[in-house]
Symmetry: C2
Subunit: 366 residues, 2 copies
Amino acid sequence: MLSQQQVPGAVENILRDFVAATAPSLDEISPVVAEAGAALAEFVLTGGKRLRPLFVHAGWQCAATGPEATATEALALRVGGAIELIQACALVHDDILDRSDTRRGRPTVHRRFSALHRDQRWTGDSAHHGASVAILLGDLALAWADDLVHGLAPTATNTEDETAPTPLPPAAGTLWARMRTEVLGGQLLDITNEASADETVDAAYRVMKYKTAAYTVARPLQIGAALGGGSAALSESLWRIGSDLGLAFQLRDDLLGVFGDPEQTGKPSGDDLVTGKRTVLVAQALADSDAPTADTLRGLLGRPLSADELVTARGILIDSGALTSVEGQIDAHLQTALGEIDALATSVGAREDLTALAYRIAHRQK
Amino acid sequence: MLSQQQVPGAVENILRDFVAATAPSLDEISPVVAEAGAALAEFVLTGGKRLRPLFVHAGWQCAATGPEATATEALALRVGGAIELIQACALVHDDILDRSDTRRGRPTVHRRFSALHRDQRWTGDSAHHGASVAILLGDLALAWADDLVHGLAPTATNTEDETAPTPLPPAAGTLWARMRTEVLGGQLLDITNEASADETVDAAYRVMKYKTAAYTVARPLQIGAALGGGSAALSESLWRIGSDLGLAFQLRDDLLGVFGDPEQTGKPSGDDLVTGKRTVLVAQALADSDAPTADTLRGLLGRPLSADELVTARGILIDSGALTSVEGQIDAHLQTALGEIDALATSVGAREDLTALAYRIAHRQK
């Protein structure tokens, strides 16, 4: 069994093999398609903390306590890799929706292809071209996620004898289906709340529940357990644990998005304020401030901020009690999850590993 | 065994059941998400000629000649329904890329949600909101395609005992993977050719090969045959037949896009000229006209046209010999395919049905 430290590397090996297998079919179409595919492959291979694969593996570890368990660990890593491809689609498409220029300190995919269009002095609108390429590359990542989760690949041959890939157990397949609908549904709710200026704490929590908590923690844990042959009772416990940890994860993200160190987060200082993100932190401050203060805060959302304005906005988030409240909510979700983890009927090692992940995502600095 | 006439209805029943099964999980997230999902469901259920499912079924019929065949017909219909969900994603996303206002005589999905944004007097940019919703609904259709093809659904429960859905045979899975990468790769090539103003006949043919021929006819036929347990030799024959028929289909589409009757096609007269689509028809006319005439034609592409200008453009396409040439190419591809169909080692009924489909797509009026 792999240790937590070994999981990201193992998942990256799977992703490296998968994108290498897709390359000939893209090359065959055209060099420009191969280049676009290489940009997607680079995006997939260089990014992220691989949190979702870690939760799939942790869920699998909770279930796979018998001696026959090692047979399904490879499947857990494969599914972890597939979720990273969904995440690639989500990030590439979200960056179009949010009009983001940079991600992980580099140009976003749509900006990269807008720049190519400009540099080549092609005809038409560079921004529209960049967005169009990014829509298609996100689609490709989403299609590849399903190929990988089912053990398929768009290989260049199609008539040879083939052996059947290991199928997903039915319970894992249903959770996989739900997870994708939930993250897309949560994102639809997010942009609709933003458009309709719904600034309530309730609305922000509902988006977190589906867009983040289910997708990032709860469903990956449950899928992992299903791959390891876990019981329905274990799945229900992991759903509750994952929902609490996922909320703690997003609430921490909201704090880092306003108070985080740009050196650590890779995002500009106060980025969530500048982009006007609807977070529980901001919703809480708006709800708990007097009307003039709330109006001042509203005026500091969704536009570039001077250093002084950023200090003012942060001051309101602190003085309203929102910062303290969100820290308290993170701690409450973490404690609830830790209590459930302690009560899990699994190995000591599985409980320890899940506990370590719980502290990590609730108290991370980046 | 279903007749060709029964296939579209059977596929629509599968799609109706599938989208009904997704509804509770969208309702649970929020009423606004349920509404967006209902818009997607309506788009999927009201549209199209169901050509791709017809080719899956025809390919299956070529392979499934034994008495045990009926067991796999349900699988062929399921896969046909799944391709219609891919098609929904392709159309919704293409309409963003092409900035199309109408589809099948109704507002496109992104326009529909732009209008909602405007009508509700929401904050932000209505056009960007509409495109954002359409990106996410296309993603949802693509995710659902993979759920359906593997017999999964994002149902509202996740801990009950479940039975395993019928898996795809390995060869069908690999073809499914290839097909999705090919259509997206072909579309990437198409927008890049458009941006780089590559107006050669070669470039237009290469886009047709992957974006249309493989995706619309050749891979569906092969997938169907794989579902019916067909041989590698049958698969290779169907690849060749499908490639010829797919090219004939797209070349006919190009003619209808310029010369078609709006009453029949549901698109404005001369729509492909107005949108500046890179077709073989136009590429051929540009290649075969003298320089001033070619420049005149170029000046009539990619912008609204008066009735007189449309007459001028059509005149150039006719006088250059491009119309006659494309009709000749359609016929040549059709004849090649018909010869191969006659030589197929399958039942008389399967050959007759495939022949009927071949004539239908090569000579359709809409």
